[in-house]
């Protein structure tokens, strides 16, 4: 009986997240129809995620084969959805537990510290929970310790990341109503700092006339398909028809094969996104409901596109220059002996655009351009440096895309490798978090003083 409960019920991530949703829905006193449908949809979301992972792994395998044949180096496509879906097959329970308790830690921190942020970007919470779970497990931390340490790290990031950006977010939105809760924040932070440094007297991007025709890229399924088809075509041309038709496609014309494999990847991402949407559709509102009750004056930390309407031109400029830096990095990475990170339109669109908006806020056009280019470099080099610490998951041909995953993963992963004792690792990690809290708190006090003056 205990075995059934511990292994088959709580040890099955799909059922575990279903239970979280069930408790959340009951706590909100929803009617029975909503409780049943919400719980079932959450579980189904997890199952869909798993199905999408299987589709993507096939296509990634073909891509790696072709890339290796063409350039004799490994190419990696950073895609959060893909790596998380793949990782769920072995780290599902860890992810679900760290995610749930990370949200609890977020609420407690927002309640008792001056960090009043409630991190509402559920998919990023889940992705970060997954990465922390993978790295700590690879470093030999398991069981209750894993969940406690993992959720304290996650909960801390959920308030520290919005806090770091808040002075700039306030400048962009002209109010203190909401914060940005997105794990690409490190790139935006650097962009804003660079903007401040280089942008003296540079006019705002919003005084320019920029064609809006790139707006269609915001439709994710279009931009993923487009990128993947182009990538597969380029790689297929270098790998050559002889290799592809004899080794991979069973005689199908190599370009037709490449086209379909590109779309298979895009279809996998689409399936995973549909799964994540169903999975989090109940959990995020429940989280917000609980937070609203327990945290007076809570500030919602929202997904990066929340700031896009405040600087429409910076969005386009930021994307273009971030992507350009991504293309340049592709050639620089092997020079440093790193794996090639193939730039994707989606990460460069969302994080490049946000970096553009932050860079523009502090340094006008020049800030937007140089800031988003540095974001492009950051999201090329960090994923490459992150790969070695991801253990077995690092060999699947994909990795985490956004900047904070890189920073957090590289720091945690290397600490855990260098420090032989688990206890010492945990102490050092907590000391780092406390130092970050102190820095943030000092900065907040300074801002309050300025506001008062």
């Amino acid at each position: 009986m205990v075995d059934l409960l511990m292994n088959d019920v709580l040890g099955t991530p799909a059922i575990l997240v279903g239970l979280f949703a069930l408790i959340g829905l009951l706590a909100q006193r929803k009617n029975i129809a909503d409780v049943v449908s919400g719980t079932l949809k959450t579980i189904m979301g997890f199952v869909i995620l798993d199905a999408g992972a299987n589709v993507i792994v096939l296509s990634l395998g073909q891509f790696s084969n072709m890339f290796n044949e063409a350039f004799s180096v490994d190419g990696v496509i950073p895609n959060n959805e893909a790596i998380v879906a793949v990782a769920q097959q072995s780290f599902g329970t860890e992810t679900a537990m760290i995610m749930l308790f990370g949200m609890v830690v977020n609420i407690i921190l927002a309640r008792v510290t001056p960090y009043k942020y409630i991190f509402l970007t559920g998919h990023h919470t889940m992705f970060m929970a997954c990465m922390i779970g993978v790295i700590l497990t690879t470093g030999g931390i398991t069981g209750i310790t894993l969940i406690v340490v993992g959720s304290i790290i996650l909960g801390s990031l959920m308030v520290l990341s919005p806090a770091m950006l808040q002075p700039f977010t306030r400048k962009i939105t002209g109010s203190d109503d909401f914060a940005i809760g997105h794990f690409g924040s490190f790139g935006y932070f650097i962009s804003a700092l660079i903007g401040r440094f280089v942008g003296k007297n540079s006019a705002s991007t919003e005084e320019l006339k920029v064609p809006k025709s790139l707006g269609f890229l915001r439709d994710t399924s279009v931009s993923v398909s487009l990128t993947m088809v182009i990538l597969f075509f380029v790689v297929a041309l270098f790998a050559g028809p002889a290799f592809i038709e004899s080794e991979l496609s069973e005689g199908q014309h190599f370009l037709v094969f490449a086209f379909l494999q590109g779309l298979t990847f895009a279809a996998g991402v689409y399936i995973i996104l549909a799964g994540v949407r169903m999975l989090l559709g109940e959990i995020v509102p429940a989280f917000k409901g609980v937070a609203d009750k327990f945290v007076p004056h809570a500030k919602p930390a929202l997904d990066a596109p929340a700031i896009f309407p405040f600087a429409g031109n910076a969005v386009i400029i930021g994307f273009l220059f971030s992507f350009m830096a991504g293309l340049i990095s592709m050639f620089l990475l092997p020079v440093f002996g790193l794996k090639v990170i193939v730039p994707g339109l989606v990460p460069h669109f969302f994080t490049g655009a946000a970096a553009g908006v932050f860079g523009n806020a502090t340094g006008g056009r020049r800030g937007a351009i140089i800031g988003s280019m540095s974001n492009g470099l950051i999201i090329s080099f960090l994923p490459a440096l992150l790969l070695p610490v991801l253990g077995t998951i690092g060999f699947e041909g994909t990795t985490f895309g956004d900047a904070d995953f890189g920073v957090v993963g590289i720091v945690l992963g290397n600490l855990i490798n260098v420090i032989p004792s688990t206890v010492l690792f945990i102490i050092i990690t907590f000391v780092i978090l406390i130092i970050l809290y102190m820095i943030g708190w000092k900065a907040m006090k300074k801002v309050e003083k300025e506001d008062a003056a």
């Binding site: 109503d177 439709d219 399924s221 949407r277 509102p285 929202l302 929340a306 309407p309």
Partner: protein, 89 residues
Amino acid sequence: MKVLTVCGLGQGTSLILKMNVEQALADKGISAEVEHTDVSTASTMEADYIITSNELAEGLVGHRAKVFIVNNYFDMEEINKAIDENVVS
């Protein structure tokens, strides 16, 4: 009544908008089913109303639902105003 809230990825901002729209509709006493999604999925879904941003609305031209725009997904005032102007209850 069925309402879709739409953003680029169909994950973060559209979910925030969904929660706010549900709140606004409930305050007005309008009962509706609200779902959040991405543009491609929205274009093939049945709905009475679609709420999205200016840029994404262009991708939904010709949809049978009435498409209307909210630019700041967190501004309850803008959401309430848009609903008052566009939704026939």
